[in-house]
């Protein structure tokens, strides 16, 4: 056991920090900067796709290097990025896609040219995802599927170019069988998107309706009816991503800074014992979960797929994000209730309640906390039935 950064790690850290500083956004066209940033990261030797295997252009970092990168990027100015193509679909294509599919889709994902969204949940299939009903029917000549049905909670569907979608191709046998993994464009007739406004007042999720959408068989990943197996692996990648540990570490420091700016008596909110002890307890949990993530990172780098520990990360990571949002709202006091407009409260307070309300979603999406606990019950504790 040893987590000391070596001399090489420290040199790497300095190199990463220099890169991030040199390429931070300064002014001008933000999208041009964004594309340029990924190009430069690519030139560094796969820094644009840190988690991809070397075979597909990734940097082949050690766990320590991944750790250094995560910490450094969390607090730096880096361009926006979506996880759907990069971190969720790409590993599935690498493991189960045909060579032709890999060549067709991975370069555009890597270049951030194509935005993907994830067609998983349905109105009747939430925690019980495998009960999904969106139907894909193979044509008589076996050349295309016709897709009909509805997806819900589709994040960023309104800006997505393509969707990876779980569909039902058979209702025989147990429901996990008969699910097929299809890829198709979003901007076509038969795909209708309706925004869902969340309680924080924002639009990130959508309902998506499919009416007779034709999907060529070459857009099917792997075998018909095996989609559930591919999707499960993908959910493990999603969970690790949702945990957002590095971002929480940065966010907690930001929260302390905010609280220090809120006057209480002769000091600040950070001098109020009850508030301070909640911050401290949060920090302790975050310190532990940071190491849970490192342990999982080490497992993954040793070549193993992310396993049940990704469920622990998702459970604790999202709970911590919610606590940060709650304490931020609390630090804003009554001013957090103001949507916008004129008031003398702290700047960060405005919309604070919205941030907290939206954070309630973290323990619901990507497999609700209850589902994570079921997974741990079965896979880790070895208990078979969990009704």
């Amino acid at each position: 056991m040893d987590i000391e950064l070596t001399k090489e790690d420290l040199e790497f850290e300095a190199e990463v920090k220099a890169f991030l500083e040199e390429n931070a956004y300064k002014d001008g066209d933000a999208e041009k900067w964004r594309m340029g940033w990924f190009e430069k990261a690519r030139e560094k030797g796969g820094w644009d796709v840190p988690k991809w295997p070397v075979k597909f252009g990734g940097p082949g970092w050690t766990p320590n290097q991944h750790y250094v990168w995560q910490r450094a990027t969390a607090s730096a100015s880096t361009p926006w990025d979506l996880p759907f193509g990069l971190s969720m679909l790409a590993p599935v294509l690498m493991a189960y896609g045909s060579e032709e599919q890999q060549e067709r889709f991975l370069p555009d994902i890597r270049a951030r040219k194509v935005n993907w969204c994830q067609g998983y949940s349905e109105p009747g299939a939430g925690s019980d995802l495998a009960s999904l009903k969106t139907k894909a029917e193979l044509s008589e000549d076996g050349t295309y599927y016709t897709v009909n049905g509805q997806k819900i909670w589709t994040t960023m569907a309104h800006i997505a170019d393509w969707i990876f979608c779980l569909t039902r191709t058979s209702s025989d046998g147990i429901k996990q069988e008969g699910i097929t993994f299809l890829l198709f464009p979003m901007k076509q007739d038969g795909v209708e998107i309706k925004p869902i406004i969340t309680l924080g007042g924002s639009h990130t999720v959508n309902s998506v309706f499919f009416t007779d959408v034709k999907v060529p068989v070459e857009n099917r990943v792997g075998e018909e009816g095996k989609g559930w197996t591919y999707a499960k692996g993908l959910l493990e990648h999603e969970r690790s991503g949702i945990a957002g540990i590095s971002n929480s570490i940065v966010a907690l420091e930001g929260l302390k800074e905010k609280a220090r700016g809120v006057k209480r008596g002769n000091g600040s909110l950070m001098d109020v014992p009850s508030f301070k002890s909640k911050i401290a307890a949060l920090e302790v949990d975050l310190m532990a979960v940071e190491y849970t993530e490192l342990r999982s990172l080490a497992t993954a780098s040793a070549g193993a797929a992310p396993g049940p520990e990704s469920s622990i990360l998702k459970l604790k990571g999202t709970e911590i994000q919610q606590r940060i949002q709650k304490l931020t709202m609390e630090a804003g006091g009554q001013f957090s209730a103001a949507w916008a407009g004129f008031n003398s409260g702290p700047d960060f307070a405005r919309g604070g309640t919205g941030g907290y309300m939206n954070s309630r979603y973290y323990t619901i999406y990507g497999g609700a906390s209850e589902v994570q606990k079921d997974i741990i019950t079965k896979k880790v504790l070895g208990i078979k039935s969990s009704k």
Binding site: S121, G124, G126, S127, D128, S131, I152, W153, I196, I197, T198, L199, V205, K263, R264, G265, V272, S274, F275, M329, E330, G333, Q334, F335, S336, A337, A338, W339, A340, G341, F342, N343, S344, G345, T353, G354, Y356, M357, N358, R360, Y361, T363, I364, Y365, A368, S369, E370, K373, K387
Partner: protein, 373 residues
């Protein structure tokens, strides 16, 4: 020992329950919020039904009710997330006036508060006052006949539609002294007053009010100069009791909606209510709701009877309600899944109101600290 409502209280509870059932489904409420504020029609109806006169003595033109009557009403309002400014005008603004005002001052304002033609608002909070109502920096500088007021009051409930403000300002003492705080009743159109109204996340309206050399005379001062804190604090205590009752009404809706939803929705080939982990969670929500109700009864009766331990009971209530509100709200949303986080179901709206209530008049931690002090 008797926890039964009187016949009058039961009548008014039933009548508000009907009003809420007829007028406050989510869609109707959302329409009122979108128009920005509350319904003038509903406000008029409330006045005509005599609701606005409930907590005033008969000499003041009211029905001689007390905090227990307000509790009965607010619990029902909480079940519908009613938007009309009953709390702002009747409980807070007029609550301070009825305690500190002279017979003339009360005669000038209370009848129009009770008939709904005029609204009052209580302007006591400031940018850096935190949760402390005695933390006052808005200043009153003596003039010949009265004071010149300077400073900013924040988060003034329904300040944008108020005809006059009961304002706390400092005429002597240090920033956090209870003595040296003076109250005045100032018409909203007086020179030097600027009001910025804005909506809050719970669909209600708040405001920030700037006083720039606003002149007040002896006629405007409520009670004795420098002795305003007692009336201010009593009005705030009434406010705490009122929003705690509202929270109890909202929590009842949340736990019942959750139970109903889990019985309707199936996952894994079972109604969700078959899962023990959810059953026990809903039992916990129910227990929190019942505990809140007990503490509400206790504190309200203690205050209404002028008990020695009244203030401590109010602190205990606000602490307990805040904790329960988050527990019930978070679990209602979680159990409703993604739908719970949308504008489409009512659970999220009830939770938003509970979140605001938790922070109002001092949050959960603040009141525990005061309770322990």
């Amino acid at each position: 020992m008797n926890f039964e409502l009187t016949e009058e209280q039961q009548l008014i509870a039933d009548s508000i329950e009907r009003f809420v059932a007829d007028n406050y489904d989510l869609e109707s409420r959302t329409a009122i919020v979108a128009k920005g504020g509350f319904s003038e029609d509903y406000w008029k109806q409330m006045a005509e039904l005599g609701w606005l006169g409930m907590p005033f003595s008969e000499e003041d033109g009211g029905f001689g009710g007390n905090q227990i009557d307000t509790m009965v009403m607010m619990e029902q309002f909480g079940k519908g997330l009613v938007l009309e400014p009953f709390l702002a005008s009747v409980v807070l603004g007029a609550g301070a006036l009825k305690r500190a005002g002279s017979a003339e001052q009360k005669a000038a304002w209370l009848p129009s508060v009770i008939d709904g033609t005029k609204q009052l608002a209580l302007a006591y909070m400031e940018a850096e006052s935190g949760d402390e109502p005695h933390n006052v920096t808005v200043s009153g500088t003596p003039t010949g006949d009265g004071f010149k007021i300077n400073g900013i009051k924040c988060m003034v409930l329904h300040g944008g539609s108020a005809d006059a403000f009961v304002v706390s300002f400092r005429t002597s003492g240090g920033t956090v002294d209870e003595s040296g705080i003076t109250l005045a009743l100032i018409p909203a159109d007086r020179d030097g007053i600027t009001v910025h109204g804005y909506p809050t996340v719970d669909g209600l309206q708040s405001s920030e009010i700037k006083f720039d050399g606003v002149e007040v005379s002896q006629d405007d001062i409520l009670g004795e100069v420098g002795e305003g804190f007692a009336a201010l604090n009593a009005a705030i205590n009434d406010g705490i009791l009122a929003i705690a009752a509202e929270a109890v009404g909202a929590m009842e809706v949340l736990y019942k909606d959750t139970v109903a939803y889990t019985q309707e929705r199936e996952q894994f080939d079972h109604p969700m209510s078959d899962f023990q982990v959810l059953q026990h969670r809903m039992v916990d929500m129910f227990v929190e709701y019942e505990q809140s109700k007990s503490m509400l009864f206790r504190a309200t009766m203690e205050v209404a009877s002028g008990g020695e331990d009244a203030q401590r009971n109010v602190h205990a209530l606000k602490h307990l309600i805040g904790k329960a509100a988050f527990f019930v709200g978070e679990n209602a949303v979680q159990t409703h899944g993604g739908m719970g986080v949308t504008e489409e179901l009512r659970v999220g709206h009830y939770f938003k109101r509970l979140i605001v209530i938790e922070a109002q008049f001092g949050n959960t931690d603040y009141h525990l600290e005061r309770f322990a002090a």
